[in-house]
């Protein structure tokens, strides 16, 4: 980890509150993410971790608070904008495009980069074709990186869970993200799979210098790979700091008593 230097604040979340009808999902959450770091969000089930990411992605519109990305401040984000600004995302319960092949799933991640219009695509001549091929090359690199070459043409629905998680990651990587939001990338994995996945995550962080925001239950993993940790409980922030600090934090301990796994 020594090799990469933590940079400036890239993503700054200020006083976010989110409600569904009467239910408070998030209350006055603030934290920041620095460039190149691995930032973890932890907390028991229903703590509002995913909702937090959904706010950053613009899936949910928080009632209060603001989110700034590289200095630009938004009261609520617009998914498209977020994507264009280089924020990618994987999902807790696999939100892959089940009907499509691995290749197509990851290619979809490149769509933002593709500029040819409807007619060029319909005729698929010159520009469109070249573009496809170019993006395909890039996607193939990701496929190699994630070691899923043999599954290129299989429909993701038919693949084992662990591999689907990789495809999910691959689709996010295809966007060449600056910030990568990972929602429980290791949920329901066995030990080796977890090891592979953490390796991938760290490699991404090292090789491409991608900033990583990570939701994870497995404290072990979190403490190993993350630089700083935010702890949520019942939609409130109860801790923030280096793994070491957080380990000491009494609120965190009480929140996790018995639920540490």
């Amino acid at each position: 980890m020594a090799t990469r230097k933590i940079g400036e604040v890239i993503l700054d979340v200020k006083n976010i509150s989110l409600r569904f009808g009467g239910v408070k999902a998030l209350t006055d959450i603030s934290f920041d993410v620095r460039e190149h770091e691995v930032r973890a969000i932890i907390g028991p089930n229903g703590a509002g971790k995913s909702s937090m990411l959904n706010c950053i992605n613009g899936v949910y519109a928080p009632q209060e608070g603001s989110i700034s990305f590289r200095g630009q401040t938004f009261s609520h984000m617009n998914s498209r904008q977020v994507a264009e600004m280089g924020v990618a995302r994987t999902f807790q319960n696999l939100a892959l495009f089940k009907g499509m092949s691995v290749l197509d799933n990851i290619m979809t991640g490149r769509n933002l980069k593709m500029k040819s219009n409807l007619f060029q695509q319909a005729i698929r001549w010159g520009a469109a074709e070249r573009e496809e091929t170019a993006q395909r090359q890039h996607v193939e690199r990701i496929i190699d990186f994630l070691e899923i070459q043999p599954y290129r043409k299989t429909a993701v629905g038919k693949m084992p869970y662990g591999l689907q998680k990789r495809v999910d990651l691959g689709r996010a990587l295809a966007m060449d993200p600056q910030v990568l939001l990972l929602d429980e990338p290791m949920a329901g994995m066995n030990v080796e799979e977890k090891q592979d996945m953490s390796r991938f995550i760290l490699d991404v962080n090292d090789e491409f210098g991608t900033t990583i925001v990570l939701i994870e239950h497995d404290m072990g993993v979190v403490m190993d790979i993350s630089d700083r940790v935010v702890v949520l409980d019942y939609g409130k922030k109860i801790g923030d700091g280096t793994p070491a600090d957080v380990r000491q934090n009494p609120d965190v301990i009480s929140a996790y008593l018995g639920t540490s796994h």
Binding site: S79, V82, F97, N111, Q121, I123, R124, E131
Partner: protein, 354 residues
């Protein structure tokens, strides 16, 4: 051992991205086209031409269009008939009001009109999902049914509200004989099928399918649902509109709104689902199934010389038709196209099961 891709190594991504990467498929398609363009016109009787092939081709085209919307973009539509009607009546007006308007242009312009309306009725899809969306498309259906009956301008003030065309020709070549009609429709179908295939295997196709499979994730990747859904509506209703034009001009020659009523919409939905959602091939299978089956069913008694009362025959047709649909859904919910590809898979392994 006939159907194998072993030894066909792709040296470039480009070659791997062809429509038919496997050699045997390319050959098969070549043969198919040869049959379609040469053998059928030479061999088949006038009846087959006029009553089976021409409707089959036109309805395949419409099903193709619908499949883009329902099968690829996952937006259910029960108003396909409406968009066919718009295509047909618009084309009719271009033909009737602009002297010397070439037929092909009229048809394409008709398609464009239907595109416009399609996008209009597609707008609710941004907010309404699934079955609820069906009501929007049904609104389109019933509204057009009404509009073409009531608004005289559309029908060039014909007292009965039915319109008819005559003296069709494509850049001087008359479209009178069954073979000419057949070839015209076939031409349209092949071209549009190719374009559609390109779209669905390109970037826009992936956007559609992404919206279909998991719209939230798609949005997070940066796909704009507005754009994806509305393009799907646009492309779909364009193709459907052109098909409508062909149905009116080439198949019927003279028609009234009832020719594009809700039954037509259902028929087309049947085609795409029986044939296979999200499969270009499926549109053809579906059309063939739905067009041929009823004719075969109510023809069979005569051909086997069994005297059977017409009413009973057509009631039986209804029953068998319904039963077969259920049967197919049970055996293969993903349609004939899926059966087809399973068969191909089996064929690949043949003669070694594993």
């Amino acid at each position: 051992m006939l159907y194998r891709e072993n030894g066909q190594f792709k040296s470039s991504y480009r070659s791997d991205q062809q429509i038919f990467p496997i050699l045997q498929d390319r050959i098969a398609i070549g043969l198919l086209l040869a049959v379609a363009f040469v053998a059928i016109p030479l061999l088949s009787s006038e009846y087959l031409m006029r009553a089976i092939f021409v409707p089959f081709l036109i309805l395949s085209l419409a099903a193709l269009g619908l499949n883009i919307l329902v099968g690829y973009c996952g937006q259910i539509s029960l108003g396909t008939g409406a968009f066919m009607a718009i295509g047909a009546y618009a084309a009719y007006n271009f033909q009737a009001r602009i002297p010397g308007m070439p037929l092909v242009f009229s048809l394409l312009l008709g398609g464009l009109c239907s595109t416009a309306v399609g996008v209009l009725f597609g707008i609710p899809s941004l907010r309404i999902k699934g079955l609820y969306l069906a009501v929007a498309t049904l609104a389109a259906q019933f509204f057009t049914d009404w509009a073409f009956l009531r608004i005289k301008w559309f029908t060039n003030d014909s007292s009965s509200g039915s319109v008819s065309v005559a003296g069709l020709n494509v850049f001087g070549i008359p479209i009178e004989s069954p073979v000419q009609k057949y070839l015209l429709c076939l031409g349209f179908l092949v071209v549009f099928a190719l374009l559609a295939k390109n779209l669905v295997r390109g970037a826009i196709g992936r956007e559609w399918m992404a919206i279909r499979d998991m719209d939230v994730a798609a949005a997070v990747i940066g796909i704009r649902p507005v754009y994806a859904k509305l393009t799907a509506f646009a492309v779909s209703s364009f193709i459907v509109g052109v098909a409508g034009g062909l149905w009116g001009f080439v198949h019927l020659g003279s028609w009234e709104p009832a020719a594009f009523n809700i039954d037509r919409s259902f028929q087309l939905l049947f085609m795409v689902i029986i044939g296979g959602l999200g499969s270009i091939m499926g549109s053809f299978f579906g059309a063939a199934f739905i067009v041929v089956l009823p004719i075969v069913l109510d023809g069979l008694p005569y051909w086997f010389g069994i005297p059977i009362d017409t009413a009973l025959a057509s009631h039986l047709t209804f029953m068998i038709f319904g039963a077969l649909i259920v049967f197919f859904l049970i055996v293969e919910p993903h349609g004939i196209a899926r059966l087809w590809s399973t068969a191909k898979e089996k064929l690949r392994l043949w003669p070694f099961p594993h």
